[in-house]
């Protein structure tokens, strides 16, 4: 186990190193770092100071060392637009994105598992067929377009829900979130549903496949023969077995959901870091772009590492297979 974790840690550091090189060369070799890190309206003295601070007069490998040292120290330049350190700006926006992502993942399980179980329990019924057809659309529909249509239907035509912003933010146990106010929840519902759509379809398909695989098994027959009610067999015995693959896949999808929040946040003007990156790309606010890329890549490496380690704890075959190589 320790060997496995050490090996994975080494791999993660390698990826981080590669990503920092990629971002560094993207910024320093392809682009012009003076243009990227120094605001266009800076005067001569400011420019000279910034060039010295970034070490742009030094050889390229020394510049890389300084870039990494600055990044580790949390200094990746100040945003041109907001004039605060870009890392601070991104960390300010992160809670809104995480909130959206967590609610979306929760929605996909809460809606996906029951629908999938029903579709697997009565696979030939009209309801099951409708659910499965719906899941095909969930996979195929471009999510940004679904977001627009949700706004068109629920905000423009029906006027039930607001279409932009995060709404009121409440505080509970020291955590600030829109979940804690009614107004905030109303703002959260459409973006979260939009973001969850793909994963709802995924969970439906996984759950249905799990049901169809588990129902004919001996333990189900045995539990029924023992006199347990159908309800108990399905909701307790079968559900437990279905949940293993679902938990794994949903865990792996958290990262994707955070990445895809870029799209949802842009549509619903949700003030998270995804909207920030798109605004920054459009405003050419390059220090923020660089900081976003570094932070998100770091976040992904950590998520992947944690999921891999958890997976190897849950399923010993993974780590034993890796050791055998």
């Amino acid at each position: 186990m320790t060997v496995f974790i050490i090996r994975r840690l080494m791999q993660s550091s390698l990826v981080l190193l590669l990503m920092s090189l990629l971002v560094f060369f993207g910024v320093f070799a392809i682009g012009d770092p003076i243009e990227i890190f120094i605001a266009p309206d800076a005067d001569q003295a400011e420019r000279a100071r910034a060039i010295a601070a970034l070490g742009l007069d030094k050889p390229i490998w020394e510049q890389y060392v300084m870039f990494v040292a600055n990044a580790v120290a949390g200094d990746l330049g100040r945003s041109f637009v907001f004039n605060i350190p870009s890392i601070e700006l991104i960390l300010q926006r992160m809670p809104a994105t995480l909130e959206l992502a967590i609610v979306a993942v929760a929605l996909s399980v809460v809606l996906g598992v029951p629908l999938g179980m029903y579709a697997g329990y009565k696979p030939d019924g009209a309801v099951a067929k409708t659910i499965m057809a719906g899941s095909i659309f969930g996979f195929s529909l471009p999510s940004f377009w679904v977001g627009l249509m949700l706004i068109l239907i629920f905000a423009v035509e029906l006027g039930w829900l607001p279409s932009t912003g995060r709404g009121e933010v409440g505080t509970f146990l020291g955590i600030q979130s829109s979940i804690f106010t009614f107004n905030g929840l109303k703002h959260l519902l459409l973006p979260a549903l939009n973001l969850a759509l793909f994963n709802i379809s995924l969970v439906i398909r996984l759950t249905r496949a799990g049901m169809r695989e588990n129902l004919p098994m001996d333990y189900v027959k045995f539990a029924r023969a023992k006199g347990l009610s159908k309800r108990r067999v399905i909701l307790v015995h079968v559900l437990k077995n279905i949940l293993i693959p679902i938990v794994t896949v949903v865990g792996l999808e958290i990262g994707s959901v955070i990445a895809f929040a870029v799209v949802t946040e842009t549509i619903f003007a949700w003030p998270g870091m995804g909207k920030l990156i798109i605004d920054s790309i459009n405003n050419l606010d390059r220090p923020v772009i660089v900081a976003y890329l570094m932070i998100v890549v770091l976040m992904f490496i950590v998520i992947n590492l944690v999921v891999d380690i958890l997976y190897s704890i849950l399923d010993p075959r993974v780590r034993l297979g890796d050791m055998g190589k």
Partner: protein, 303 residues
Amino acid sequence: MAGAIQASEGTAKVETPFRRFVADFTESKLALGGLIVFAIVFVAAMLCAFISPQNPYDLRQLDIMDGKMPPGSVSSDGLKFWLGSDSQGRDMVSAILYGLRTSFLVAVTSGFIAAAVGTTVGLIAAYYGGKIDTFLMRTVDIKLSFPAILIALILLALLGQGTGKIILALVIIQWAYYARTVRASALVERRKEYVEAAHCLALPKSRILFRHILPNCLPPLIVVATIQIANSIALEATLSFLGVGLPITEPSLGLLIANGFEYILSGVYWISFFPGIALLVTIVSINLVGDQLRDVLNPRLQK
């Protein structure tokens, strides 16, 4: 099943693998419908310069006074806007066809390059094995642990916009899927006797790889390619919608939908709605074909 038996018994035709494939494929009416719809959309998009009522990207043919006309209205020079017009006075039907052509060109070009790169990597990994295999497959694993949209954002934020750049981004996103698929089937193939026979004939390695092993790895590759093309179309539209994909001078469904987004709150729905439907029809039809291909080409399900 039934179709295949009919084809071999009912007529005097010999059952070739291709005929059997066609019979199996057409067994699902849904997939056949998908294929027909896809063919119509594809041909219409490719011929957009000849069949669309106007060239929506030729500014001389546009009149800003015709902007935002609802579906079914008639423009100042007598052109009927079946699906309405956008804010610049473009006919939506024409704009959608031109946009679809761009989507197909980007998706197919990037798909071909990614398939070529991925297949080569996969074949090399499977054939040489050992350290080369471990290294290549680790790279694939790492690449696949990052979601496609994140990779695209990183590349496009660093490189800037452009058709060539989005194709490059899509290639970098897709190659790993092809590599993994080809490696998996090539690993099975290389242990078979015909490869041993080819070795005994002292054929060059490249010939064994590309002329003997590769053709036998094609079925799963075709399935992956189908699904990847649908994904690329969706991703390209998403990136263009976000304003980081195609430049605004290129006809694109994503940009069209983004333009319509500005007017959606005032009830002008058709600028965003119809391009989205076009995307949906295209992607669903490709996915239906892909699903059936997977079932037909999967050796485990072969009857």
